[in-house]
Amino acid sequence: MTKFHRNGLAKMYLNSIFTNPERLERLLDIAQSSFLPLLEGAIQYTIPLTLISFTIGLILATLTALARISTVKFFQIIARIYVSIIRGTPLLVQLSILFYGLPTVGITLEPFTAAIFGFSLNVGAYASEVIRAAILSIPKGQWEAANTIGMSYSQALKRIILPQASRVSIPPLSNTFISLVKDTSLASFILVTEMFRRAQEIAAFNYEFLLLYSQAGLLYWIFCFLLSLVQGRLENRFDRYVSKA
């Protein structure tokens, strides 16, 4: 198609909306009637998928970070390999292996379960680097102060180091979280009827691709915007013990 033609098509689309009241009405109707199914997809799958995967992922990430900074070579190596594999392969490939590949060796996962596995492993790897850096950024004197009042390694970690490390890691972890919200749309590929798959299904039925994908995009954007507000509040809360100067 030439540039002229494409422009022409866009013009026609817009013209048709504004000059043809029936067309506009049809679009509004579809937008309205698909809103609830999309939201349902979000509430049933997108949001639970995000929350569950992020929680499991964070635990995995903390363990991985601790393994990375531990003095036991074996733990270090396992953690390195895990992070390297997850970061070095596309998420879509990982999901495909979990859902379409594993049945070949007799492991069959439900779409939702496979998605949880995939996203948790993903968050675990990416967030582990954030948490590792945050732990290493806490001055050595904090460990020493914890030791001199008699704390064990795990007590120092839990009471002194991780609370301070979490403050440092809120901005980068928020990024991970927001990416995850959007990445859950990839679960559509392994048959999870989350928000984006709903949009695909409705559009396949009425051919209004532009409308439905934009609508889904808008909803993702709203979620992410709300999350960035939460991030701001969290940062303020954690900043109460640092000098504002």
Binding site: N147, T148, I149, M151, Q155, Q164, R167, Y241, V242
Partner: protein, 249 residues
């Protein structure tokens, strides 16, 4: 109270402590002086096993640690309880108020009931003159106040020995006095303490014994008068000249 025998510490090839022997009686205050890099900090840290000595033995109040073989974690923890360290840069926990800093050891380590730990922490903070500042975070306190919280935090665990590593050297001059005053009161109450400091007035007024350390060894020891007024070793004389001149420049 403290019996140190042939204590050695190396970092790789660098031998920092070359055989330290020292006995400190209960209730004594010992001041350690010496040039930068002579191993004073390392020596103190070894007594609290923040640094693991390479050889030698240390006994504090009958608890013996023999560093010629690796110590089990349990024993290190038990040994550490005998002493507590006050750091040059305070190392307060920034995410906790002054009160929470002091309560942390008793609550988390000694598993003392919160209300009881709180009462004790309030008492200690009052003792170091910070009754009004209990609920402030470290960043809201001056250096001198932070260091006094540091002392209260160490005291909360009721250690038999207090270790001070240049507790006033990071402070503005006008804040030094308030910290030294607290330390002096502790000494008068009979706390056994080992203090690395170059505060001559404190050493003269409070120390029972002064040690001069150089290049990983205790070169000379004696009463404050013996060391400051009649030093015998050439190196001690040179060092004292240096710090006294620095004061008058």
């Amino acid at each position: 109270m403290i019996a140190i025998n042939n204590l050695h510490k190396s970092f790789g090839d660098l031998e920092v402590l070359k055989g330290i022997d020292l006995n400190v009686e209960k209730g004594q205050a010992v001041v350690v002086i010496g040039p930068s890099g002579s191993g004073k900090t390392t020596f103190l840290r070894c007594l609290n096993i923040l640094e693991t000595p390479t050889a030698g033995t240390v006994a504090i109040d009958g608890h013996m640690a023999d560093f010629s073989k690796p110590l089990p974690k349990k024993q290190i923890m038990e040994f550490r309880k005998q002493s507590a360290m006050v750091f040059q840069h305070y190392n307060l926990f920034p995410h906790m108020t002054a009160l929470e800093n002091v309560m942390e050891g008793p609550v988390t380590v000694q598993k003392i009931d919160r209300a009881e730990a709180r009462a004790k922490a309030e008492e200690l903070l009052t003792k170091v003159g910070l009754k009004e500042k209990m609920n402030e975070y470290p960043f809201q306190l001056s250096g001198g106040q932070q260091q006094r919280v540091g002392i209260a935090r160490a005291l909360a665990l009721e250690p038999k020995v207090m270790l001070f590593d240049e507790p006033t050297s990071a402070l503005d001059p006008e804040l030094v006095g308030e910290v030294l005053q607290v330390m002096k009161e502790l000494a008068l109450e009979g706390m056994t303490m080992v203090v690395v400091t170059h505060e001559m007035r404190f050493a003269k007024g409070v120390a029972d014994e002064v040690l001069f350390m150089d290049a990983g060894r205790i070169v000379e020891r004696g009463t404050p008068q013996e060391i400051f007024d009649y030093p015998k070793e050439e190196r001690t004389k040179q060092f004292l000249n240096l710090i006294q001149n620095a004061d008058t420049i």
